[in-house]
């Protein structure tokens, strides 16, 4: 599942995911007709619309053995919100089946495939931002860190306040842009203080927010999706 942000704004992430998984011997399929998991509508309270989009998504992935999502919040949406959202619809059973087969990328690599050693696409220090939905939603802080610590070529430095929100929050970022930006500024100061060349995250939303702020300040720090970082030259 490439996700709407991944599809439109960060296609390289999907390309990296495809390459990574194929190198590990995984057959990668990309069901056509994907749009969005429905999270933007769901989180804003438009649940009828979200259910309509979710039901489509459930149908599209009916035949997949595992569904890998390079975004913690979208994986959370499918795993934890779909079953309740589609409870009173014909898609209910299929939604529950999908929830049980859907993984955020780092979780899939570490916990399903048992793969932890990758070559970094950049060298030097990297720091990691815990995306809220991956950390507190899917309760995952270890899988991405395992991958980052074992990276060949890059060194992980922990980010102070790494578990704090970057201020994205979907529509929150444009409903209360001033608050969102002030939360972001704090995050960016912490990132810059680590001296890392890259800030790594597992969610396109956070990368859009942090990348947008770093770009605006013309910072040297680059936002990088975990998939892009793991996608180094083959050994």
């Amino acid at each position: 599942m490439v996700t709407c942000l991944g599809d439109m704004f960060f296609p390289e992430v999907g390309v990296s995911v495809t390459r990574l998984l194929r190198r590990l011997g995984v057959t990668v399929e990309f069901p056509q007709g994907q749009t969005c998991c429905g999270q933007p509508m769901f989180n804003s309270g438009y649940h009828a619309g979200a259910a309509r989009v979710a039901a489509r998504t459930v149908e599209l992935f009916r035949d997949a053995e595992h569904v890998v999502v390079p975004s913690g919040s979208c994986a959370y949406m499918v795993r934890h919100e779909y079953p309740a959202l589609l409870r009173d619809t014909p898609a209910r059973a299929e939604a529950e089946r999908l929830a049980g087969r859907t993984y955020e990328l780092s979780q899939f690599l570490v916990r399903v495939l048992g793969k932890t050693r990758f070559k970094a696409s950049v060298t030097g220090r990297v720091t990691y931002h815990d995306s809220c939905h991956l950390l507190r939603g899917l309760r995952e802080s270890e899988a991405p860190r395992t991958l980052l610590r074992n990276l060949d070529g890059a060194e992980l430095v922990e980010l102070p306040g790494g578990d704090e929100c970057c201020g994205f929050g979907g529509s929150f970022s444009v409903r209360l842009p001033e608050v969102s930006t002030q939360i972001l500024d704090k995050k960016l100061r912490n990132i810059e203080a680590t001296g890392a060349a890259c800030v790594v995250a597992c969610d396109s939303g956070c990368l859009m927010q942090m990348g947008g702020g770093l770009g605006r300040r013309r910072s040297k720090v680059r936002p990088l999706h975990l998939a892009e970082l793991l996608d180094g030259d083959e050994r």
Binding site: M8, P11, R22, N43, G170, F172, L184
Partner: protein, 507 residues
Amino acid sequence: MSDTDLSVPFRQRAGSALGDKHLQEALTIATTKFIGLRREAFGEFPEGERLRDMAREIKEATLQHLDRYVDQLIDSVERLGGHVHYATTPEEARRVVLDIAARTGARLAVKSKSMASEEIHLNEALEAAGVIPIETDLGEYIIQLAHERPSHIIAPAIHKTKGQVADLFAKELGRQVAADPEELTRIARVELRQKFLDADLGITGANFAVADSGTVVLVTNEGNGRMVTSLPRVHVAVMGVEKVVPSMTDLMVFLQILAKSATGQKLSVYTTLVRGPRRAGELEGPDEFHLVLLDNGRIRQIAGPLREALYCLRCGACLNVCPVYRQIGGHAYGYTYPGPIGILLTAMLEGPGSVKDLAHASSLCGACADACPVRIDIPRMLVELRREVDEARIASWTERLAYRLMETILASPTLYRWSKPLARLLQRPFARDGRIRSVPLAFGEWTRTRDLPAVARQTFQERWPELQNPTATPGSSTATGEPCDRSRLAPESGHPRPKPDSRHPLQ
């Protein structure tokens, strides 16, 4: 008392808070300290997680049979010689307290910290009736001097720096006062001592009331709760009806996690257990004891979508960790209870229409739910409130139209596919090097402070046909020639972008 002006839109209230230097300084210092202390307290307490689960279970079970426990509490308190009053509305609760004051000829009331009394706007009512209320919790004392309202559930003056407090005291006393917390506390203590002795009425809240023993429990750090409950002739405790707990055993579960969540203390300095008025032979305690049980919309929510908000212990942990609260403080929210839990309580007390904007004052980051000692799923209920707002059609028509449009596009792969070339066409005047620095309409809210990535010249879906064949290596032109390459993502010189290779699986 200055209330937040609710005619000013929430976004603007929040904006003013962001620009308030003193507020920003005070909030950063205090919330950071609270977060660290809480983390430490639970870090040293391995049973903490289990006790949190237990506390939640006790709350759930108690609410199931709240009527029974309330009856039991009333019996217990009356058996001790106390009086219990049930108030459905804030007006009723105020009336009860004013009647007691009038009947007992009270002129001066000392108060220990109570959010329930804030909720019913008791101080103004007392003043109007000729009874002078004196707040005796240091933080409350400060904001009473400043004619403000609490901006935090347990640290009402959290928005003030020590310098501001010193200025406030100096103005009140007509002399210079050093910005030294110890000195400021000493001054307040001296000022308050005589008030305790002179007061006719002692007004408190209650952290808990134990059904089977009739014990009202106050958790404080300054000892003022003891003075307020033992020196005046009459003690009135005002408590939300959901705060009843079945037994002392249950109480112990809560006491072990409350202070840790609130201030990181193992226990608060004082845990005051009050059982009715002074009995024959006792030296201390009031002649009369009254417990006011406040409903104010709570009972209705036992079967409502905000049920879990009734588990709240008022520890304030969710405020301290909330990225929004940490930036804007409590006053911007505009109601008695600020922060994430405050939004839910406001919806409970004032109706969902009151939180049309506040329901969106959260990035749904989940830090609140993680910090909550009874694990209230605040983000889920915020989403629930947003749904209610949608279903009641009280959001603006432009917003509803935008989401309807989003739904139409996302439910149709064809429309979604065609939206991309359209977006590329529309963004052309604004995009440069894959970034958009300024754009009109709603997206302008984003680009005022942040760059927006442009829609890629080739989206992933559009690239899939060439990626589809695993043996056909996408050439370097694909990898590095990504036309909308986010230049800041381009590899540094010397570290060429990885060559895609899919022919040799690692395993």
